[in-house]
């Protein structure tokens, strides 16, 4: 038992060393699927490794999801060619999106989304505007919920307490980056509940935001459950979840609708989805959607979702496109209303 584990690690190390040695060059595929194995020949299959574009540095949230999925593909031999993670960080997703967009017609590249894919095209001068229409939607693989958090020492016991005070004075809140999902959500909340403008403080990442709230340096956040988890329940308190249903992690915390704000835009998630380059053929799109459906259905991915406190939801092809279009419109309208666009 122990011995085989050691061997497995040894094999893993070999792959890692190869990767390091050729500076993230594509790893040789473990098993190039022989033709005889597949009962029906698919209409399209990849001819070379598929680039998995990540818009953060190695170690960023979406980077780890992508690497995990690439590992699942390898483990279950889901594809004749491996997924190879390529980091294109910078500009709140602008660099990575630009890179994928330049691969028009080439299905050998996909990108994992963060909600910056909805905002960045409207904030920066880029040759595309809609992630739904100017790229090829492939699949939704998870939704990461947002929760309103306050410090445990705070006098706000309920969402109503919080909103009542937010209508009186400008509350200091924090979030990841500027004009990205956290600030978007606080603005949606301000508009829906008629509060004073929040005093929004941008931080480098979700972990820093959660730490600032736990230390009492800011008054509220809309962290995701995984970001706030190390501080819950000792140092932070959830007041409301921005979901359709109650979150099983916090069964006593009301949904935003139960808390009295029945507004569709306040059902808001971080969208963990996959898009491909624009203009790829339909057969290739279908193959990619199937691949991510297979990944989604593995026990490994389902366990991973649970461990990272996310909501599993799969949407493929046109359904996912419609889902993205709604999010694009929500963000575009808000950015226009707030006069953020350049």
């Amino acid at each position: 038992m122990r011995r085989s584990a050691v061997w497995r690690i040894g094999a893993g190390m070999l792959v890692l060393l190869l990767l390091a040695a050729c500076s993230r060059a594509p790893a040789p595929s473990g098993a190039p699927g022989p033709a005889g194995q597949a009962p029906q020949q698919p209409a399209w299959s990849p001819q070379r490794p598929i680039e998995f574009v990540v818009t953060t540095n190695p170690g960023g949230g979406s980077d780890l999801y992508a690497r995990f999925m690439a590992q699942i593909v390898e483990k279950y031999k889901l594809s004749p060619q491996p997924l190879v993670v390529v980091n294109k960080p910078g500009g709140a997703g602008a660099v990575g999106m630009q890179y994928l967009h330049s691969k028009r017609g080439d299905p050998h590249a996909v990108l994992i989304t963060l909600n910056s894919v909805f905002t960045t095209p409207y904030l920066q001068k880029l040759p595309f505007s809609s992630i739904a229409d100017d790229f090829t939607p492939v699949a939704l693989v998870a939704l990461d919920p947002f929760v309103l958090w306050v410090n445990r020492q705070s006098r706000w016991q309920t969402f109503q307490d919080f909103i009542a005070e937010a209508r009186q004075r400008s509350i200091t809140v924090g979030g990841t980056g500027s004009r990205q999902e956290d600030e978007i959500l606080f603005n949606l909340l301000q508009r829906a509940a008629g509060t004073q403008p929040f005093k929004y403080t941008p931080f480098e990442g979700g972990g820093a935001v959660a730490a600032a709230l736990a230390g009492g340096h800011i008054e509220a956040t809309v962290n995701q459950p995984s970001e706030a988890a190390p501080h819950y329940p000792d140092r932070v308190r959830p007041l409301v979840v921005f979901q359709e249903q109650r979150n099983p992690l916090y069964p006593d915390v009301p949904t935003i609708k139960e808390a009295g704000l029945d507004r569709p835009e306040l059902i808001y998630y971080q969208v963990r989805g996959i898009v491909a380059a624009p203009g790829i053929e339909l057969a290739a799109q279908k193959w990619l959607t199937d691949l991510f459906k297979k990944i989604y259905d593995t026990q490994d991915w389902q366990d991973y979702l649970k461990q990272n406190l996310m909501v599993g939801r799969f949407l493929g092809g046109d359904e996912f496109k419609k889902f993205l279009q709604d999010y694009v419109k929500l963000h575009a309208d808000l950015i226009r209303a707030l006069n953020w666009a350049q």
């Binding site: 890692l16 500076s23 910078g90 660099v95 630009q98 730490a211 230390g215 988890a229 190390p230």
Partner: protein, 508 residues
């Protein structure tokens, strides 16, 4: 369970054969990526993370930790030998490590580097073992105002240190600050100084700039100045003589090593800063408190010792608040925390209660892993020194190739290669005109976090700078930092005042 009992349990876990192999593998990977510029320890840990999905969590954590310690030890090897940093935290070691190597004392510099890194890591591990929970509370008390005050302190330690012209230092610092401003401004979300380029939105990374300024710049300078080798091979000694000398040098400076390690540990515990600012601050303080500050930059042993002790302390320190509070003390610790989630573990005090074998196995691996890394490095030292005997005509092109690859590997971008080449030319010009390089590097590393912390502070206070003086912790740090800034001016004024009466009396 007392810490000692728990530690005994931890050692049992670590000495399990499988875990010893994980430790060894981690250290080996860390040493390799630590030597290669561009591929950092943080990146290597992120890339290996999915591989650990099939490992037992304790083994996985020991393995990833091993990569971190290996990278800490190995980062300075190329800094010292070739003047190109393998890791951001070893950039400052170039300033004195490279001159030492050039004067034939590469073995001494490497030994001092490894030994002080081990001392730093072990001091931090001792603090981790016995005071983990109380010390971690420090991380919670540091909000943006306190972090800004610490960064101000870091800048303060460098004011008035450059032996050359203060105006030239200011120019280089300004260039560094301008470079750090390039990219997407996280406070307003506006692009800055990108001249319409989408690629420049990612900002200017520290690695290509340092590699260009120091590594390539020196090669261009050497080529144009027609100094054949610029290395004094005659003094180069192989064998263990320099190793013993290095050990002695560290022991004689044990006080500096321990205080730098403690500083590194504290900076490591604070959220997000990590080993790079720690090594820079330790260098500044070592020079400031030295009896012979003019020796720094020309091959002072303290200039290698202090930053490495701090980096060793910071790397271990940054893991402490990550394990106890879920607040990573460095970007690397943040990646390892993502691993904890993947293995189904939540950081926090509960982790210490529910999974003592995991936590204490890791703490024991801090003792064992760092020692292992040290032993591997120190036995390799004679071989590493032998590299310096390769003729310069062969070594120089290799350094250039390594620099180009390293710059590209940072974010798979040709832009970084161009930046590296441009900085090489800038480094040459600066050497030629005797502009110091370190202020640029310091400003580039500390500029962005300092700017962000200041602006977050001002948003919190509604624009009033007074917040830096009304929060007790921030106030103390700010006052000390301001004193450091004003000290050179006061010294100057005192000197002028003393000179005047002297002049007046001589005129009589």
């Amino acid at each position: 369970m007392s810490p000692l009992e728990a530690l005994a349990l931890g050692f049992q876990t670590v000495f399990h054969p499988a875990n010893l192999i994980y430790t060894f593998l981690g250290i080996a990977v860390g040493l390799i990526v630590g030597v290669l510029p561009g591929i950092g320890g943080t990146g290597a840990i992120a890339i290996s993370l999915p591989l650990t999905m099939f490992m037992p969590p304790t083994g996985a954590l020991i393995f990833l930790g091993g990569i971190y310690w290996g990278a800490i030890f190995a980062g300075a090897i190329t800094s010292i030998l070739f003047g190109i940093p393998g890791e951001p935290w070893s950039a400052i070691s170039i300033l004195d490590g490279r001159p030492l190597a050039k004067s034939g004392k590469a073995g001494l510099a490497l030994t001092v580097n490894f030994t002080s890194a081990l001392l730093g890591a072990w001091l931090a591990t001792a603090l981790f073992t016995f005071l983990a929970l109380p010390l971690s509370m420090l991380a919670l008390r540091f909000g943006p105002p306190e972090l800004f005050a610490v960064l101000l302190l870091a800048f303060g330690t460098f004011v008035g240190l450059e032996s050359g012209s203060p105006a030239k230092s200011l120019v280089m610092m300004a260039i560094g600050l301008v470079l750090s401003a390039v990219g997407l401004d996280i406070v307003t979300g506006q692009p800055r100084l990108n001249f319409g380029s989408v690629e420049l939105l990612k900002g200017i990374d520290f690695v290509p700039v340092t590699v260009g300024l120091f590594g390539l710049g020196e090669i261009i300078y050497g080529a144009i100045e027609a100094r054949r080798t610029s290395q004094e091979l005659s003094a180069l000694r192989l064998g263990l003589a320099h190793v013993w000398e290095g050990l002695g040098a560290v022991i004689r400076r044990a006080w500096l090593a321990l205080s730098s390690a403690l500083l590194g540990f504290i900076i490591g515990v604070l959220p997000a800063l990590g080993a790079t600012p720690a090594s820079i601050m330790a260098y500044g303080i070592a020079q400031r408190t030295s009896k012979e500050p003019q020796k720094f930059g020309k091959g002072a042993v303290e200039g290698v010792l202090a930053p490495e002790a701090a980096a060793g302390g910071a790397s271990v320190g940054s893991m402490l608040p990550m394990m106890t509070l879920g607040i990573p003390g460095s970007p690397t610790a943040a990646v390892i925390m993502a691993g904890l989630f993947m293995w189904g573990l939540l950081p926090g005090p509960v982790l210490f209660q529910q999974h003592p074998d995991f936590v204490w196995g890791f703490i024991a691996s801090l003792w064992v892993g760092n020692l292992l890394a040290y032993l591997l490095c120190i036995t390799a030292t004679p071989a590493l020194v032998a590299i310096m005997r390769i003729p310069y005509a062969i070594l120089a092109p290799l350094i250039v190739i390594l620099s180009v690859l390293g710059a590209y590997a940072v974010s798979n971008s040709m832009l970084d290669v161009w930046i590296m080449l441009a900085c090489g030319v800038l480094g040459f010009i600066a050497r030629k005109l005797k502009y110091p390089l370190s202020p640029l590097i310091i400003a580039l590393v500390l500029g962005t976090p300092a700017e962000n912390a200041l602006r977050q502070t001002l948003i919190m206070s509604g624009g009033s700078i007074g917040i830096l003086f009304t929060r007790p912790l921030a106030a103390v740090l700010t006052v000390v930092a301001l004193a450091l800034f004003l000290l050179p001016l006061v010294e100057l004024a005192v000197r002028k005042l003393r000179q005047k009466p002297a002049l007046a009396s001589s005129a009589d």
